[in-house]
């Protein structure tokens, strides 16, 4: 059995130092790893990334993260990634990472992802170059996620970690008019094709926590404004252990 702590949208700024520290300190008691689902910073500043990296450096369980749209806003995402990696955080963008644990191996595939909408109301790569580029970026992100999940196909447990939502379920509460800017069905399709035990995302602050892909993979929106906790904890493998 594996315990995963997960949070998204921690939105660290220069005024955030210490916000999560008390909860990060007790992670070893309650979880085997911490997954962060993007929007780690408020404005995408490397100085903000440094504030979070300083806190994550002290975490005593493995930390795996993807970046979010906020982390790209100041064109400093490469520096943010480097700061986090220097602090021991594994940052994934169309990549995978495997953790060996007594409860089984855990393969985490991560990607920021992108938007574009959901079946019946999604963008199509047709017309102007800008529109084609928009859709192809989302398609490439989904393809990268599928590839990364494939890399960890032999793991006992697989987690798909992303920032944008793969389903509409977890967006309910947001204005329907902006669903197409909050996620893409292409991400769900990637998860369903490759397989995963759970898909975790953030981004939708006004959404709700639970959903499922069309293929039956549980989806959880772990954005802090949704879970109202420092992190949410999920167990994988308990049902199998009990069987």
């Amino acid at each position: 059995m594996i315990r995963i702590a997960a949070a998204g949208d921690v939105h660290y700024g220069l005024d955030s130092a210490g916000l999560m520290a008390p909860h990060l300190e007790r992670l070893p008691e309650c979880a085997d790893m911490l997954l962060l689902a993007g929007d780690l910073t408020q404005h995408g500043g490397a100085d903000e990334g440094a504030v979070l990296a300083d806190e994550l450096a002290r975490v005593e369980v493995p930390v795996i993260a993807v970046l979010g749209n906020h982390d790209h806003n100041s064109d400093q995402e490469v520096r943010i990634r480097a700061l986090l990696e220097d602090a021991g955080v594994v940052v994934l963008e169309g990549e995978s990472h495997t953790i060996e644990h007594a409860g089984g191996t855990v393969g985490v595939a991560g990607v920021k992802g992108f938007c574009g909408g959901f079946v019946g109301a999604s963008a199509t790569d047709f017309g102007e170059p800008e529109m084609k580029s928009f859709v192809r970026y989302a398609r490439d992100a989904a393809g990268a996620l599928e590839g990364a999940l494939g890399e960890v196909s032999s793991a006992d447990h697989r987690v798909a970690l992303m920032h944008y939502s793969p389903v509409k379920d977890t967006l309910l509460g947001e204005p329907p008019e902006i669903f197409a800017f909050l996620g893409s069905y292409l991400l769900a399709e990637a998860v369903d094709r490759a397989g995963a035990d759970i898909a975790l995302h953030g981004h939708a602050h006004r959404g709700r926590d639970q959903g499922v892909t069309p293929g039956g993979v549980p989806v959880r929106n772990v954005a802090q404004p949704v879970i109202r906790l420092a992190y949410k904890i999920f167990e994988l493998g308990r049902k199998a252990d009990a069987a």
Binding site: Q42, H205, R206, R220, P225, R228, L229
Partner: protein, 88 residues
């Protein structure tokens, strides 16, 4: 007859939303902005008290003279949890 100068409230809402997204004091894309009876209502969540105060400042700068109702809440009073969801 030509329409008199002045900005329709519809567009003012969007200007406040964009200011809240871009202003370095706030940087939030997901705040709700509504305009009723000449009053601006701001809703949603931010992570610190400082950002909550800045929400009022930024909205007030974009819409001077309008009454601002800041109903934004702070999520940063984060709590830990012993609640565990068994997924598989």
């Amino acid at each position: 007859m030509a329409r008199p100068p002045g900005e329709a409230p519809h567009y003012l809402i969007q200007r406040i939303r964009e200011a809240l997204a871009h202003d370095p004091r706030v940087g939030e894309l997901e705040l709700g902005v509504t305009l009723r009876a000449g009053q601006v209502f701001l809703t949603g969540t931010v992570h610190t008290d400082e950002r909550r105060r800045a929400v009022s400042q930024v909205a007030g700068e974009v819409a001077p003279g309008l009454e601002i109702h800041n109903q934004v809440t702070v999520v940063a009073a984060l709590s830990g949890t012993d609640d565990v969801e068994t997924v598989s």
